[in-house]
């Protein structure tokens, strides 16, 4: 196991290195930070001074080595726009993203899996056909459009929920959470639902196809023949066996939700890291974008690792493999 972990870590380091190279070069091509920061009445000298301050006067490879060297010492650089350490900015914004991502995933799993199992078992019933129709609709409407519809219905017409922002927050472990206040929850509702719709649809479909596959396996027939209760068959034999693909996808999806909820965060003005990424790209705030994407790469590597461990817990065959 230790060798396995070490190998995974080595792989992830190489991945992060490649990622940093690609992102750094990419951002270099896109825009000129000095032009974005400079006022219209900056003289050439002002712009040169600014470039020197930001270290942009040096050749590209030198900039990259300085940057990479700093990262190895845990210094991800300072934002051009906010003038604050990038890591600090990202960490400050992270809780906002984490809480809607996890809430959305929770909604997705807790509605999607039961719905999927139900429609897998009773695949020709009317409710099941309705479910499969709704999931198709949910899948096909683009995310930003769903967001605007949600705002239109719940915020503009019904005026039940606020359309943007994070609302009041309450502290836990020194971090501010919207989850812990009524106003915060009201603000969370729409963006979380927006993110959850797609997840519900996906989990439903995964659970459904898994159920249909497992349902006709011999061990299921055998379990029924043994006279085990229906509840127990579903919980113990069906659920466990359909969980492997669900866990895989959920892992990747949680990563996706955390890293790239940019559309939802932008439409709902939710102050998470997705919005930070988008704003930073607009402003050519290179340190933020590069650091962000490297951290996200590491996060995905970590999530994949956790998923692998979960496999072993769920499936004894994987556990006992040499």
């Amino acid at each position: 196991m230790l060798i396995y972990i070490a190998k995974r870590m080595w792989q992830s380091l190489i991945l992060a290195f490649i990622m940093s190279l690609i992102v750094f070069m990419g951002m270099f091509v896109v825009g000129d930070p000095v032009e974005m920061l400079a006022d219209e009445d900056f003289t050439e000298q002002d712009k040169i001074d600014l470039a020197i301050e930001l270290g942009l006067d040096k050749p590209l490879y030198e900039q990259y080595f300085t940057f990479a060297g700093n990262i190895l010492q845990g210094d991800f650089g300072v934002s051009y726009v906010h003038n604050r350490p990038v890591l600090e900015l990202i960490i400050e914004r992270l809780p906002a993203t984490l809480e809607i991502a996890l809430l959305a995933m929770f909604i997705g799993l807790s509605i999607g899996i039961p719905m999927g199992i139900y429609s897998g078992i009773k695949s020709s019933s009317k409710p099941s056909r309705l479910i499969s129709f709704l999931t198709t609709v949910g899948y096909s409407i683009p995310n930003f459009w769903q967001a605007l519809l949600l705002i239109l219905v719940f915020a503009v017409f019904l005026k039940w929920l606020p359309a943007s922002g994070r609302g009041d927050t309450n502290p836990l472990f020194g971090i501010e959470w919207s989850l812990l206040s009524i106003d915060g929850l009201r603000h969370m509702a729409l963006p979380a639902i927006n993110l959850a719709i797609y997840k519900i649809c996906m989990q439903t479909r995964l659970a459904k196809s898994g159920t249909q596959e497992v349902l006709y396996q011999e061990y299921m027939t055998f379990a029924r023949a043994k006279g085990i209760s229906k509840q127990r068959i579903i919980r113990r034999h069906l659920l466990r066996n359909i969980l492997i693909p669900i866990v895989t996808i959920t892992g990747l999806e949680v990563g996706g939700l955390i890293a790239f909820s940019t559309v939802t965060e932008t439409v709902f003005a939710w102050p998470g890291i997705g919005k930070l990424l988008l704003d930073s790209i607009h402003m050519v705030d290179r340190p933020v974008v590069v650091a962000y994407l490297i951290l996200i790469t590491l996060m995905f590597v970590f999530i994949n690792f956790v998923v692998d461990v979960l496999y072993a817990i769920l499936d004894p065959r994987i556990r006992y493999q040499k």
Binding site: V30, G31, D32, E35, M36, L37, A38, D39, E40, D41, F42, T43, E44, D46, D49, L50, E53, V81, H82, N83, R84, L89, E92, R93, A147, L148, I151, L152, A155, V156, K159, P162, A163, S164, G165, T266, V267, F268, A269, P271, K275, L278, D279, I281, H282, M283, V284
Partner: protein
């Protein structure tokens, strides 16, 4: 009868809480279209950041030339500018405002906090001294005549010297050391911890997302401060911003789209305010290069070098139609490169005519009846309706026989292309915060480092009459005379057309209809331009 005091107390508590929240009528909630990046008043002059900081800090003179912390100013001689300061003003922390604070603010502006230059120090090198004359008079001295100094100083927010450590009286120097042993740190300024101005509002909280909460300053020297509380949020997506207004999250939002304004017309609960701004939208033409990038003619020459072609381009564009149809009337047809209503400009300058037939005739006369190919570059996320206007212009040019390809790019990409001089023709806007001469002095004058002229001459335009007028303007401290030089230069630019003026953009706000909004021409959004009806 037994009274449950606990229940009673709870009921009273709930009632008073409800009452407190209904007092929200005195709270103004505004949605900016871009987020303020810092609470440091000297870090950026970008509109959202400057708008936020104007609530907290004041300058000596307002952007529209209203006296703020100075009651008046005068040029004592060509290089000495005297400000007479307002008496009885206090900072949010209670410290009294004196001339010392002005010197301190100038020092802080020049000082490189953590080795970083402030954005606003650009072109401040002529400033040699800032001196306390008496408690309420301060003198700014420059190395040579520098008439735009009062305009530059409009962005000098006045901070309180009480936040720094120094022993002897402050001695201004252009490194900002000034005998100060300790400045507050960059982080203290950026986070708003050191937000201590004289403005109408005090900063209650500022987040790195740009969200800011402000409270009325009861001790302000005027009776200003229309609102007990001001909440500034920013929503970049225009649809979501409008939804926030309709959902009641906001009382006022910046920059609604034309489509949204159409749908708002039928709704009595909301209205909109449109105010002519100081921003001119124009095309810049590369008239001086042998080959203008992206522009070709059959004979291999640069057609833009021919005045007849430039006149034809100007004649080909129907500005009235752009303003009426595309901008819904919320723009003003341009007659020159600065708004004709900007102080110093000649308001009687005749309109630029629309005559496609004459345009064709001029092109034929110049030998370019056919064969001109032109790439028109435009930022697609910067100006109101920018891409659609550029499409319209491309069509107008096509009608007079020019083959146009439109290239719309995000602002960040566009700006890099402009800097690399990749564009022969591009659309641009200039906000003119420093007076009517600002754009032409930067964009059309020949490069003159001493006088800071021609910094962004992407037209590669050189004209001796124009340069002569601008060089006189650059050292003239008398307002009337300086306006004369400016107008002479503007006349040359309009005759020679190194660019094509299009229209003056308006600033637009959508808001609850029970609010009165008196918009500002400098594209900032300030709580006190809004008042309850």
């Amino acid at each position: 009868m037994q009274i449950n005091y606990f229940k009673l107390a709870t009921a009273v508590g709930v009632c008073s809480a409800l009452l407190a929240s209904s007092a929200g009528a005195d709270t103004l909630r505004m949605a900016y279209s871009a987020a303020p990046s810092t609470a440091d008043p000297f870090k950026s002059s970008a509109s959202p950041t400057a708008s936020l900081n104007e609530h907290i800090y004041e300058a000596l003179v307002s952007r529209t030339d209203q006296p703020l912390l100075a009651t008046s100013y005068e040029w004592k001689d060509n290089t000495t500018l005297l400000f007479h300061l307002r008496e009885g003003v206090t900072f949010h922390n209670g410290a009294a405002f004196t001339a010392q604070d002005v010197v301190y603010s100038a020092c802080r502006m020049m000082y490189r906090v953590d080795g970083k230059k402030n954005m606003l120090t650009s072109a401040m090198s002529p400033l040699t001294d800032v001196k306390v004359i008496d408690d309420h008079t301060v003198a700014f001295t420059t190395l040579k005549a520098y008439p735009v100094l009062p305009e530059k100083l409009k962005s000098l927010s006045i901070l309180s010297a009480s936040q720094a450590d120094f022993t002897a009286p402050l001695q201004y120097d252009n490194t900002g050391d000034c005998g100060i042993t300790r400045y507050p740190t960059r982080a203290q300024f950026e986070s708003g911890e050191m937000a201590n101005g004289t403005g109408k509002y005090t900063l209650e909280s500022f987040a790195n997302t740009g969200d800011a909460d402000l409270v009325r300053n009861p001790n302000h020297w005027s009776d200003g401060g229309n609102w007990d509380r001001v909440e500034i949020r920013s929503v970049k997506n225009s649809g979501a911003r409008m939804a926030g207004l309709l959902a009641g999250d906001f009382n006022l939002v910046e920059n609604p789209t034309m489509e949204d304004l159409e749908s708002l017309k039928d709704n009595d609960a909301y209205s909109s305010t449109s105010t002519p701004s100081w921003r001119t939208i124009f095309l810049i033409l590369d008239v001086g290069s042998e080959q203008a990038p992206g522009v070709t003619a059959a004979d291999g020459s640069n057609p833009l070098a021919d005045l007849r072609v430039r006149k034809a381009l100007s004649l080909a564009v129907n500005r009235e139609a752009i303003v009426e149809r595309l901008m819904g009337g919320m723009a003003t047809v341009a007659s020159q490169f600065s708004p004709s209503y900007r102080e110093g400009a000649d308001p009687t300058m005749p309109d630029l005519t629309y005559d496609p037939e004459q345009a064709k005739a001029l092109l034929a006369e110049a030998g370019y009846a056919t064969g001109i190919k032109m790439e028109l570059n435009v930022p697609n996320d910067r100006y109101i309706n920018g891409t659609r206007v550029a499409q319209a212009i491309a069509q107008y040019f096509t009608r007079v026989g020019i083959e146009v390809s439109l290239k719309a790019e995000p602002w960040s990409v566009f700006k890099k292309g402009r800097k690399n001089r990749d564009f022969g023709v591009f659309m641009y806007g200039w906000g003119h915060p420093q007076g009517a001469a600002q754009m032409i002095s930067y964009a059309f004058a020949s490069r003159n480092k001493d006088l800071n002229l021609g910094v962004s001459n992407y037209s590669n335009y050189h004209n001796t009459d124009f340069d002569a007028a601008m060089e006189k303007w650059a050292v003239e401290t008398d307002k009337q005379a300086s306006h004369g030089y400016l107008q002479a230069a503007m006349q040359v630019a309009v005759d020679e057309l190194p660019g094509i003026p299009l229209y003056y953009q308006h600033s637009i706000w959508a808001h609850d209809s029970n609010l009165t909004v008196v918009g500002r021409p400098d594209e900032r959004t300030f709580a006190d331009m809004v008042s309850p009806k």
